[in-house]
Symmetry: C2
Subunit: 213 residues, 2 copies
DNA sequence: CGCCCCATTGAGACGTTTCAATGGATGTGG
DNA sequence: CCACATCCATTGAAACGTCTCAATGGGGCG
């Protein structure tokens, strides 16, 4: 799978409104990545972070036995790509058609505090992800996952799921069958409604939160 | 459990040699924490990070059902306490008698790159921890844990385990019984030798690494 | 329209958790 | 200094939940 990215100043379809690269520059070129496209690869040289204007991205690493650990999902408005080493520790791929703006971090030895904040936000996200993956049953994991997406999405009760069940499984540390069964169980409990496999409506957010812990 | 810390310039017993706060200041007061002492609590205001001169620290959070997720262990020479929010997201406690130097990060809106590096190192550590906890069997998890400690400890084949089996279990997402059984299994395989419950000798590092993946 | 991948559901195998008992190490008080 | 209490660690047996293997269904794209 190779990156075949096209750099555009305007996306080829309607991007969500109200999302502009207002953090670091007034106007900035938006790179377009079609779905399932590599943004950077493990082992590559770093030196930049990315802000998602629209779409979604997964960060993952490959284990020696071929398994895949999805470390994080990022959606519109979020920034990813912070790495400690000069080399990338993870792969980054677009999940859906995605527009990115690039923020160069090359050679900054004194970084602005808002960049530091974004990096730290990524760290806390990772540490909280730990609390979810490490313990709890499959049902609880999925509940936390959905609540997290709900809060980040800040929409009504409708959650878009750009990622596949495989992605979710690799993120939560369980098989796709268990993911699927857990969705069905939440539905049977009247907590969610599956509008489609890629869209969930939360019927009872309170109970969903309670399941998380 | 309340912090009863004593600020000293010299620790009350022999600290490991060769460990001085050389990163940010030439001489700095070393605060002493006896074993099992709170360094900071979830919900507290942040504003500082800590460098471990000797001893060990655990970072954890409490879940609503009373379970505990240990997010990280830190040992001598390492720095912890990076947080994205003004409030602490985790508890930090000394595991063994520990000496810390404090690095104030209050009100820095332009942080030095080496501080940024330390923060990013914490993030990568957390993300790699994910790969371990999320998947793999109990035996593999413990193998990765021991290899990690081995590499950080940079000693010979002897690994000090300042933490209890409970800590390890809460860190790897498994019960203490499974932790214990996994230790026994590694020993039966001739890969490790348990000098005591708190000290492990690695007999076959290569095989131990292979188990991790 | 048909193929292919993704998602769902079922049944059995496997591994971890739970419950329980024992042993060992440590620290305290008689 | 020994007895005892307490906490931690180990080990066993059964219960539970997830994984594996398998079959079916559904949606998207060529």
């Amino acid at each position: 799978m190779h990156a075949s990215t096209v750099s555009l100043t305007t996306p080829p379809f309607n991007p969500p409104t109200g999302l502009h690269a207002r953090s670091f520059a007034r106007h900035r070129a938006v790179s377009f990545y079609e779905a399932e496209t590599e943004i950077y690869a493990q082992g590559e040289r770093g030196g930049a972070v990315y802000r998602i204007e629209y779409g979604a991205v997964r960060l993952y690493r490959l284990l020696a036995d071929g398994r895949r650990q999805v470390v994080a999902f990022y959606i519109a408005g979020e920034t990813f790509g912070f790495e400690a080493r000069p080399m990338r520790s993870f792969f980054a791929e677009s999940i859906a058609p995605t527009g990115l703006t690039t923020i160069d971090t090359e050679g900054v030895d004194c970084c602005p505090s808002d960049l530091m904040s974004l990096a730290l936000a990524s760290m806390v996200r990772a540490q909280e992800h730990l609390s979810v993956v490490g313990r709890q049953s499959a049902l609880e994991k999925l509940a936390v996952f959905l609540v997290d997406l709900h809060d980040r999405h800040r929409g009504d009760g409708r959650i878009a799921l750009p990622m596949t069940r495989i992605d979710i499984g690799d993120y939560l540390g369980m098989t796709i069958e268990t993911v699927s069964r857990s969705f069905s169980k939440l539905r049977a409990m009247g907590i969610i409604r599956l509008e489609s496999t890629r869209s969930v409506e939360v019927l009872n957010l309170k109970r969903l939160r309670l399941m998380g812990e």
